[in-house]
């Protein structure tokens, strides 16, 4: 059992958990993820590690309600526990001093971009960060991102904070202004796709972190297959980070949508039972 020592709700449908997991905290590196199973009969879902504290022995995960499991998960409170937590999984971010890097986090993707931006900063890069959300309420970790970035830009769809528009708008402006050596982009699949379409003509290497459907997270099931160039990769062991210019995002989006109907069914059942007591 892994105890939740801190919970913070973000906006209407996101939450942050700081969880006691000393062994995982001890080994976690930027770019890696964990698999979470909250209770018996629960699903195994991958979540990127947003932060870790080796001394305290905790890791931080931030998640958005997208289905039944994350909805139930958001009902957990401080002091309660997660049944199963496995990690750190996947390959860590390849850290080097690349020069000037841009770190883009969209929505819940701000969480995983943070440790990467921090590590890139520590590696000596000039870090320019762009974080975006639909509106002010859904934006988080502005302070933490600012602390690890040389420059920070904020965008919201409605302009309630920062620049009104998309992260790619700011990226285009930056690309005109200065030489960018590498870009990291984590967020909704569609955002990552458009970041890659923006950087590709300028040939700026762009790393994305994929979060496909997984079961075991150790290379055993192949549910997380992604097409990268002419190769099929397993996001759980070969990734989760890949060269975004080679990723087939359309395929990845279609694979992510495969269980949409089942998710609806599970959610409907959860709703009719009074909002996720989990006792069905």
């Amino acid at each position: 059992m892994y105890k939740i020592i801190k919970k913070q709700n973000i906006g209407e449908n996101m939450a942050l958990f700081e969880v006691e997991a000393p062994k995982i905290a001890n080994k976690a590196q930027a770019g890696q993820f964990v698999i979470v199973r909250i209770a018996e009969k629960g699903e195994r879902i991958p979540l990127t590690i947003a932060d870790y504290d080796r001394e305290k022995g905790t890791i931080t995960i931030i998640f958005q309600e997208v289905g039944c499991t994350t909805k139930k998960m958001r009902l957990l409170e401080e002091g309660q526990s997660i049944l199963d937590l496995v990690g750190p999984l996947g390959q860590p971010t390849e850290l080097e001093n690349y020069g000037t890097v841009v770190c883009i986090g969209g929505g819940v993707g701000i969480a995983p971009i943070y440790p990467i931006a921090r590590a890139l900063k520590e590696a000596g890069n000039k870090v320019i960060s762009i974080i975006g959300a639909r509106n002010k309420n859904l934006l988080f970790w502005e302070d933490k991102m600012r602390a690890v970035s040389d420059e920070l830009f904020i965008t919201t769809d409605d302009g309630s904070v920062g620049q009104k528009g998309l992260v790619t708008d700011v990226l285009k402006q930056l690309m005109e202004k200065e030489k960018i050596d590498r870009v990291w982009a984590i967020g909704p699949m569609i955002m990552m796709k458009f970041v890659c379409l923006t950087t590709k003509p300028a040939n700026i290497k762009t790393i994305v972190s994929l979060n496909p459907i997984m079961v075991d997270g150790t290379g055993m099931c192949g549910a997380c297959r992604v097409q990268v160039g002419d190769e099929t990769k397993f996001a759980c062991v070969d990734g989760p980070e890949f060269d975004g210019h080679l990723v087939d995002f359309d395929l990845a989006m279609r694979r992510l949508a495969y269980y949409k109907d089942e998710e609806k069914r599970a959610l409907a059942q959860l709703e009719c039972q009074g909002g996720g007591c989990g006792c069905h």
């Binding site: 195994r44 290379g219 549910a223 279609r254 694979r255």
Partner: protein, 463 residues
């Protein structure tokens, strides 16, 4: 007299009934049948059956106890050699092991050793008698076992019986490996597996689930920082193979590992009572003809498929599955498309698979494996509507542990090079056995390798 008794058939759930449930197909002998079957044993002075048992069970001895209705004693005899008798009684290919050598088999049918073993194990579990003599003198030595599948469990159990302190590290949230995620409930009930694991826990073995070695600790760290004196690697064949043909990444194309893991380990057949979904349409094609393929094809029927096909590029004779599994699949209505293999999968605008294009084969000259090589017949392509494909063409070694262990010699395929008799690897203090060494094989061979390695580890730690 014993020669006059015919081999007793295994009672089974009716095929029409069982394809609508996940309950066990083979129902097990009752007491009268098991005693009758035990009476068939000739009690050979030099029992040949034992040479066919990878874990060296004293077969005639336990059968003699069954004949006298001393089931507890029979269980104790089995368990001195085999920590997982209820599993072995169900999933061992006895026809290629002990029963193959049974002298009765020359003129008549061999004694149903596996079925008797299963009865004994189940009897002991139901009657709640624990085994004696599991208190041993601790040696003070600590062994880490990586992987809680058949090889790891056997190795751990045997080492504990020898007085060593054993911790088993398991990547998934429950121990059991392929016994939990792979072999279906209707062939090996999960509560039977957990019961055997409880026995191993009683021997003093500790289990650390959710622990991926190579990530949370490396093998070197286990030896140098975590205070283990030896490590056994039994990580299995966990990496699914695909065919690398067009359309393989369409939705609805599962690896057998994923299909079976969702169903068995995650309980997707109970969705939405469980949270893990699985999608099975009307027509399912399973590619391959091994035991895993049979499991997948039969699982598909139970998940609601109207038609379930085995698609295999060789002929019936070359099918690697156990005869009994093929028979069960046929009884249940699985259809066999032999000398056929897919060349492409086609899908719709949502990226869901809708059909497979296959080509027909004929058998040519024998290949390196001694089996006649399948040769594609030009122009024989045909297309069939399919809602799901399950790829069951084999699994390779998972590199998570091996790639993080410097000094460990591997084969070209990525399997660990280890001595067949001892499990000794190129790295001091590190032993290996089971599918990670041999490539995908059977539960009992992995158990045999775990047993031999336990013996070698004991020598390494005490000499």
């Amino acid at each position: 007299m014993s020669l006059k008794i015919p081999r007793n058939p295994m009672p089974a759930q009716d095929a029409k009934e069982r394809i609508r449930n996940f309950q066990e197909v083979a129902l097990g002998y009752d007491e009268e049948t098991v005693v009758l079957e035990a009476q068939r044993c000739l009690q050979c002075k030099k029992p040949l059956c034992m040479q066919g048992c990878p874990v060296e069970v004293d077969i005639p001895d336990f059968i003699a106890e069954v004949k006298n209705r001393n089931y507890q004693k029979a269980a104790e005899i089995i368990k001195t050699k085999n920590s997982l008798p209820a599993v072995c009684g169900r999933v061992c290919p006895q026809e290629n092991q002990c029963e193959k050598y049974c002298i009765l088999g020359i003129k008549y049918e061999p004694v149903a050793i596996g079925r008797i073993e299963r009865f004994v194990a189940d009897w002991q579990a139901e009657h709640g008698q624990t085994d004696e003599n599991i208190n041993v003198t601790p040696t003070g030595k600590r062994v880490a076992v990586v992987g809680a599948g058949p090889a790891g469990l056997t190795c751990a159990g045997d080492l504990a019986k020898l007085g060593h302190e054993v911790t088993v590290f398991e990547a998934l949230h429950v121990p059991g490996g392929v016994l939990m995620y792979g072999i279906p409930e209707f062939r090996l009930p999960k509560k039977v597996v957990q019961r055997e694991i409880e026995y191993i826990k009683k021997l003093g073995v500790k289990f650390e689930t959710n622990s991926v070695i190579g990530k949370i600790h490396t093998v070197d760290e286990l030896l140098e920082e975590q205070g283990f004196d030896a490590v056994f690697l039994g990580t299995g064949a966990g990496l699914p193979y695909f065919m690398q043909i067009p359309g393989e990444n369409l939705n609805g194309v599962y690896s057998a590992n994923e299909f079976l893991t969702r169903t068995n380990l995650m309980g997707a057949y109970d969705f939405p009572i469980t949270d893990t979904p699985i999608k099975v349409g009307k027509r399912v094609a399973v590619i391959g003809a091994g035991n895993v393929a049979m499991d997948a094809a039969r699982t598909a029927l139970r998940l609601g498929a109207e038609e379930s096909y085995i698609v295999y590029r060789r002929s019936r004779e070359e099918m690697p599955a156990r005869h009994e599994e093929v028979e069960h699949a046929e009884e249940e209505g699985v259809k066999f498309l032999l000398l056929t293999s897919p060349v492409e999968f086609k899908g719709n605008e949502n990226g869901n698979i809708t059909s497979i294009v296959c080509i027909r084969y004929e058998l040519g000259e024998p290949d390196a494996s001694g089996r006649r090589r399948p040769v594609p017949i030009p122009g024989s392509e045909f297309e069939m509507e399919i809602d799901n494909v399950v790829m069951a063409i084999g699994q390779g070694p998972n590199p998570l542990v091996t790639s993080s262990t410097p000094g460990l010699e591997l084969t070209k395929k990525g399997n660990i090079v280890a001595d067949e008799e001892t499990g000794v690897t190129s790295k001091k203090g590190v032993f290996a056995g089971g599918d990670i060494v041999t490539g995908a094989a059977t539960v009992i061979l992995a158990m045999g390798a775990g047993k031999k390695a336990a013996r070698a580890i004991h020598r390494y730690l005490t000499e």
